[in-house]
Assembly symmetry: C2
Amino acid sequence: MAPRPDADPTDAAAGADPESAPDSDLDALATDYGSLAAELDARGAVGFVAVGDRFDDDLRYLTRFSGPDRAYAFVFAAGEATLCAPALFDDQARREFPGGTVRTADQGAPAGVRAAAALDARGVDGGTLLVPQGIPHDAAVRLENAGFDLESTAAVREARRVKADAELDRLRRVQRAALRGVARAEAILAAGEADGDRVTWNGGPLSTERLRRQVNGVLAAHGVRDAGNTVVGCGPTAADLHFTGLDAVRPGETVLLDVSPRGPDGYYGDVTRTFAVDSGGGWERRAYVAVEAAREAALDELAAGVPASTVHEEAAAELAAHGFRVDGADRGFVHSTGHGVGVSLHEAPSLSTSGSDELEAGNVVTVEPGVYDPETGGVRLEDLAVVTDDGYELLGEYPRSLVPHDRG
Amino acid sequence: MAPRPDADPTDAAAGADPESAPDSDLDALATDYGSLAAELDARGAVGFVAVGDRFDDDLRYLTRFSGPDRAYAFVFAAGEATLCAPALFDDQARREFPGGTVRTADQGAPAGVRAAAALDARGVDGGTLLVPQGIPHDAAVRLENAGFDLESTAAVREARRVKADAELDRLRRVQRAALRGVARAEAILAAGEADGDRVTWNGGPLSTERLRRQVNGVLAAHGVRDAGNTVVGCGPTAADLHFTGLDAVRPGETVLLDVSPRGPDGYYGDVTRTFAVDSGGGWERRAYVAVEAAREAALDELAAGVPASTVHEEAAAELAAHGFRVDGADRGFVHSTGHGVGVSLHEAPSLSTSGSDELEAGNVVTVEPGVYDPETGGVRLEDLAVVTDDGYELLGEYPRSLVPHDRG
């Protein structure tokens, strides 16, 4: 007999507005090319070229184009931004690209050739061209063959660090969906019952995969996608930082949920909560108290002007004070305290020992201390915050409790 | 007052087995490095290197590693495959990588540097190195600086064309989920009611976004992800080939659903159906008859040894015979007849005029003729087929009807 299907993931999606949609009700996303223009001036360069496909996040930021899975090009020169798009995506490119020109001439030619033609159309046919360091090698070679000297620039990655209001709107919205996903999983765990060495729910044994499908169903109901990032682990697999496989949910063990969906305009959310069904109050209780204290210590440091490494050091000091290792071994606090979030799930700034940059107002970062024991489990708590001049604002709030509750 | 939430997308998910999961019950995915070894021999090269992140599909195929969103490297030399993975992903890399060696030494160094070190560890420190043409430029430069001459190879893309049984199992499974998603949308359209210039369902006006969320909820319930590819258009937006925005569903207009989810092991599904609520039997009826005939004509050609272009030409001839333009203007049949599907949604072979390659047994291709009128709508029917020695096998079957039905 086939197992019966699980209950409605949209039970938890009450409030999802079926008519609200691809962020079309929010202020339009612009991209300020001013920092590119300034970089060209400073470096004595004639233009900037990026080449990639829909999975290239710099290109998504520069063009807002949710293009195809083959290479296209963005060109900035003589104060003008140009998108070289496939002809079959012409309408979509014109709808999405905030820059000046969509070129579909030469489509079918390699993206590097098309970029050189777009430069030529602006009267630029030689000199220093700035490119991201990871530009596809074939495109780089074609640009060199067209007479340009290439130098790499991190200007786009830098420009992405500080978020505009329209970006914050999107980050808040996708984070709200992520929090609803966590609420669904927490409600399931609250209803779960210990039965020997398994937790059962809805008439059958509960697994990380059943939880994941329920969370992802809620994300879908809110118009965002799970993006392959819905991490659910239990016990030892909760100590495996990116576990997306199948495991049983067992009583007394930590259930770690890390939910990082992507919204329709490309911005990510990111939240982690940890629960235990029928906790005996051992390792996981001590770990939870320590991680909550580290979270508080890290958040207390967030403000414009603070070195990113300071945030990490404060979190690590708190975990060490609670008796957990912070030396990068395979147990204790094994990762950094956080990372920037935008059109990439992981971007600048990094809240880590090597994060020597100062935080700026408008940085959006995760704060996610955690401790792990490969034999026992893992506890991580993660929130998303925007840095302000004198502190921070959480992008969405969600309660913390090792014991799961139905938050209704 | 907030609109009430939409009904349970898992109504249509009956049969989704909550315990079946990340394809762990299927035969393990191997990757045959034999074609790489043969290419090295034929070209007199000492090794092969690929560098990319989790969004690089060649790398996914070579490593089976669902790695991080930053660059890592794959190296094949001296008959051995090596994955240079981030230390934080060590467990995951060892679990997923079917090759010989996972290296986490030098982690933190640029991927190109790590690849050169892995080559050196195999006693390879100079000579011709084969790389994909789109290898990141910085990695290419670092390999050149380490003493290698780079030449590009399409060997990986070529190796991916013919699917092994374990790959077909995954393609069938993700396609089954995609078909359940279409069934959900069709059931909603069957229950939809014409009300003036809108179609209403579940007490409110129906939109492309409500349909998309319902489809994506079903995909989530089946353990696959929508991957941002759930295209739903109505009328003129159905003629916009990749519409993922918000539009009303209107009576008498074509509703086009193109569902291309990705399964846990990275393989895609791809199916399109077109419906109309309360069709008056005009353009859309003629278009539907023509597209069905073109589909039949294209499928009839599928077999090992047939030039890919022949399949396209037969579909185009059928559409032309039905009075539709096939000359690449913005109306009529404006795209190719199909494309390969695997760990990329679009890969070789291409069923198009330029597709001069012969089909091989084990190719998995879409067959998706369609006709469009930018003012009126679009009709497309798409199925996924594996080519066999004497014909083809559909990877999942789904009924065809312009009038939507509840398929229960």
